[in-house]
């Protein structure tokens, strides 16, 4: 597995309460994370972020201006959404349900115990990392597939469907030798060493809707 994600992860803390924001920031820093703190959802939205850098958002629900839930929605529409952990002083059930349905990693209430907070942050970062990894792989596979010619793609499709070279030649109206040449091109371009590997890659692509 290759990954371009190499930088240290960053935790974004968004809370309007100064002293709580400061305290959580301190704790996460002491636990070894890079932390950036924002006093409101708007401040977070307006700040330039490095999309490549893995991270997560620790988000208050009730804030003046756009609420935490509003920000979560906006984040979800982004290309590479950051995982969200909610941290609220008072969580009623409808809010919790809405937040979790929208894909929140966790919904924590203040005062928050250290382990619960750090666990949630760890989970969120792992998820982000995983997401980043699979995202990279997908992109890689896509680039490889793009390199195939139209004929090679046809051959590829029939190979992974389990057809023999002879059958493919008959179906596509070409010589069996030509099929073999195309097939070795496909294996090379898709960076697959065995037929099984190629089938696996095809499965993956089909799964991702490519």
């Amino acid at each position: 597995m290759t990954s371009s994600v190499s930088e240290k992860p960053i935790v974004h803390v968004v809370d309007d309460d100064d002293s709580l924001r400061k305290a959580v920031t301190r704790l996460l820093r002491a636990a070894g994370y890079d932390v950036r703190a924002y006093g409101s959802a708007g401040e977070f939205a307006l700040t330039e972020r490095d999309n490549k850098r893995p991270g997560c958002v620790l988000l208050d629900v009730r804030m003046p201006g756009p609420s935490g839930l509003d920000l979560q929605e906006a984040l979800a529409r982004e290309d590479e959404p950051l995982p969200v952990i909610f941290l609220t002083a008072y969580g009623d059930i409808p809010t919790t349900v809405r937040a979790m349905k929208a894909g929140a990693v966790d919904f924590l209430t203040k005062p928050i115990k250290r382990d619960a907070l750090l666990n949630a942050v760890r989970t969120a970062l792992a998820r982000d990392l995983q997401w980043h990894t699979s995202h990279e792989q997908r992109r890689d596979l896509h680039i490889r597939f793009e390199k195939l010619t139209a004929r090679e793609r046809d051959v590829f499709e029939l190979v992974v469907a389990g057809r023999l070279n002879k059958q493919i030649a008959a179906e596509l109206g070409m010589a069996e030798r030509t099929v073999k040449a195309h097939r070795s091109q496909v294996m090379a371009k898709m960076q697959a060493t065995t037929l099984a590997e190629l089938v696996h890659l095809a499965d993956k692509m089909r799964h991702d809707g490519l």
Partner: protein, 679 residues
């Protein structure tokens, strides 16, 4: 004075209105006829009661008849009455061969006497004379009984001298006329006036026992007067002069001024008639001296008896008024003997309140009845230890016959009744009021709790913020201390933050506790603007969660008022919550709430809460502050009713109106305190 005075006042008032008409009315004509007859008869009687051979009148009734007529009528028709008396005077006097000029002169002096006496008396009493008050009798005796005859007799004697009539000296003439007129004014005029006011219907109110007593009195008086004044020989035992006195005193004590004046008149008439007919003790000297003696005797007897009658009547009236007030008082009243606490009298309401019959209470002591008016022992101090300072509005419990305790407010005054120190105790049953107060306190408390309940999310939010910060700070500090070279400065800063957050949390809890505590009103001098500021801060979290922006516009001038902080906070919380709820359907960007305080001149301070919500349906505006009236889907309809009762208790006014640009404004104003806030 009020009862009878108003009666005769109205009578005279009617009279005046009748006379006011351009033509003299029937009442005035009737009075004139009576004056004519009375004056004529009076003159005849005066002539009859003269000492012979030298004609000296001992008793001169016509002037007194005229005086009585003027005292009974408004001054407006006096001229008419004097005019009516003139022919009577002429007819009567001209029969006795007196020169016509002298007759006319006498009429002038007679009129002057009546005018002086009646005018002064009316002026000083500011109205008709009354013989049942000390002031009325004293004024009458001084003005009509003394000054009138005194002054007019100078005129009279002067006329006699000018006309060269008779043989007496000026001074003798003056003296003879003065005494005879004093006597008749003092004895005859009161009798005429009191009996003239007598209405036949009043006979019916006299009980048969009283009528019998009156008859016996009359008989005794006539016998005693006859025995002493008619049958007595010359130089009688002086004790005999006092024989009529017991009967006069009897009339004074048992009957009214009317009977007393009649009795005096009877004695006067008998005495003079006896003497003029050569009987009784006043016949052994010259005619002049005899006349003087009899006049002095009667005058000296009459004045004190009349004053005594008035004094007693006045006192009886006062007692009757007290008894009436005691009986009909809407509050339970009792009279208690001070030395042993024995009940002397109780009124109906007292019996109703405590459930006793009259027979069960009179003559028994408070201790026997176990009334237990024990609060602070103040009543005991008055009863047992002769304390005389009054008790005012003492709240205590009293035990009814059923054993039930009633909350009462007690006032007691030490009075002397029949020479015995007593207490007049007035009780106000405030059981129901106390219950109502307690209920309204409970209700206010419940409503506060409900408000707090509505705010519980905000409150939890407010408290959890500092608690969360404290916990995370502590965790951070712990982690930092685990490192190899702990950053101690940072740890110190963390500790300072923890302390601040802790104080912040406890401040919030203190606020909530104040609001939820059940308590009676605690009034103090407060800055209303400061109170409003506190509430706005407390409601900020709630406003945020509802996406409402609260703006404030507070008075710069001091807004010191006298009130209860918690109750006023409750009112403001209610108004702010209502305002926010009214904006649920308003687009978020337009949800604005404005809280204002304005000093209204020197007198009042106004607080208003304006929202930009849906407003109040006009037909509901007037009922908003009623209990259990609500325009909300959820809500008991008590918030505004309690808000109004709180503002009422602060002598303020609360009102609501729709804004011209949408939404509604609730406002209340309170009187400004002249004291400044003690911080």
């Amino acid at each position: 004075m009020p009862d009878q005075a108003s009666d005769s006042f109205w009578k005279s008032r009617r009279f005046e209105q009748a006379v006011f008409a351009p033509v003299v009315e029937a009442d005035a004509i009737r009075a004139a006829v009576l004056v004519f007859i009375g004056y004529y008869l009076g003159t005849r009687i005066g002539f009859a009661l003269t000492f012979q051979p030298h004609p000296i009148s001992v008793f001169w009734p016509p002037n007194s008849v005229l005086l009585a007529a003027l005292l009974l009528t408004p001054p407006r028709i006096w001229w008419f009455l004097l005019l009516a008396a003139f022919p009577a005077h002429l007819i009567a006097e001209l029969q006795s061969q007196v020169p016509p000029l002298m007759v006319v002169c006498w009429f002038v002096s007679n009129c002057s006497e009546a005018l002086i006496g009646a005018g002064l008396t009316r002026y000083l009493l500011r109205g008709p004379v009354r013989f049942d008050t000390l002031r009325g009798v004293a004024t009458f005796c001084l003005c009509a009984g003394f000054l009138g005859p005194f002054l007019s007799s100078f005129i009279d004697a002067g006329f006699v001298a000018l006309n060269g009539w008779g043989h007496g000296s000026y001074l003798n003439n003056w003296r003879a006329r003065f005494f005879s007129n004093v006597l008749s004014a003092l004895t005859l005029t009161p009798a005429i006036i009191t009996w003239f006011n007598f209405r036949p219907t009043q006979w019916k109110r006299i009980s048969s026992g009283h009528a019998l007593e009156g008859s016996v009195l009359l008989l005794g008086l006539v016998i005693a007067s006859t025995v002493t004044l008619y049958n007595a020989r010359t130089n009688p035992d002086p004790v005999l002069f006092y024989a009529p006195l017991p009967f006069l005193l009897w009339a004074v004590f048992r009957f009214e001024a009317r009977a007393t004046s009649a009795a005096i008149l009877i004695v006067t008439f008998l005495a003079i008639w006896s003497s003029t007919h050569g009987h009784g003790p006043f016949i052994n000297q010259s005619a002049e001296i005899n006349a003087r003696s009899i006049q002095m005797f009667l005058i000296v007897m009459t004045v004190p008896v009349m004053l005594l009658a008035a004094g007693i009547q006045e006192r009886r009236k006062a007692e009757e008024r007290f008894a009436e007030a005691f009986r009909s008082s809407p509050d339970p009243m009792s009279i208690i003997r001070q030395k042993d606490g024995v009940l002397i009298d109780v009124n109906d309401h007292w019996m109703k309140t405590f459930g006793y019959e009259r027979s069960e209470t009179i003559g028994r002591s408070l201790l026997d009845l176990n009334l237990s008016l024990s609060e602070g022992g103040q009543v005991q101090q008055m009863i047992g230890f002769g304390r005389t300072e009054p008790i005012r509005d003492l709240d205590c419990e009293a035990r009814a016959k059923t054993g039930e305790f009633r909350q009462v407010s007690l006032s007691a005054d030490a009075v002397e009744i029949g020479n015995e120190p007593c207490l007049v105790v007035v009780i106000r049953d405030i059981t129901d009021r106390k219950k109502a107060e307690e209920m309204s306190r409970d209700l206010a408390h419940a409503s506060r709790l409900a408000t707090i309940g509505e705010l519980s999310a905000s409150i939890a939010h407010e408290i959890n913020q500092p608690l969360g910060a404290i916990l995370s700070n502590a965790d951070a500090a712990e982690l930092l201390l685990e490192s190899e070279s702990p950053p101690l400065d940072e740890v110190r800063r963390i500790l300072a933050d923890i302390r601040n957050d802790d104080l912040r949390a406890s401040e919030i809890i203190r606020h909530i506790r104040l609001l939820t505590r059940k308590q009676v009103m605690q009034v103090e001098v407060l800055d209303l603007t400061q109170v409003a500021g506190e509430v706005v801060r407390l409601m900020e979290a709630e406003a945020r969660s509802r996406n409402v922006s609260i703006c404030t516009n507070f008075a710069a001038a001091p807004t010191a008022i006298f009130g209860d902080r918690v109750h006023l906070q409750q009112v403001l919380m209610n108004l702010i919550l209502n305002g926010m709820e009214a904006m649920t359907d308003t687009p978020e960007s337009e949800r604005r709430l404005l809280v204002r305080t304005v000093a209204n001149g020197q007198q009042r301070v106004q607080v208003s809460v304006s929202d930009s919500g849906r407003g109040i349906p006009p037909e509901k505006l007037s009922r908003l502050f009623e209990s259990f009236f609500t325009t909300k889907e959820t809500g008991m309809g008590l918030g505004l009713a309690i808000a109004r009762s709180i503002i009422d208790a602060h002598h303020g006014r609360i009102s609501a109106e729709n804004n011209s640009d949408g939404g509604a404004t609730f406002q209340f104003d309170l009187p400004l305190s002249n004291q400044s806030v003690v911080s």
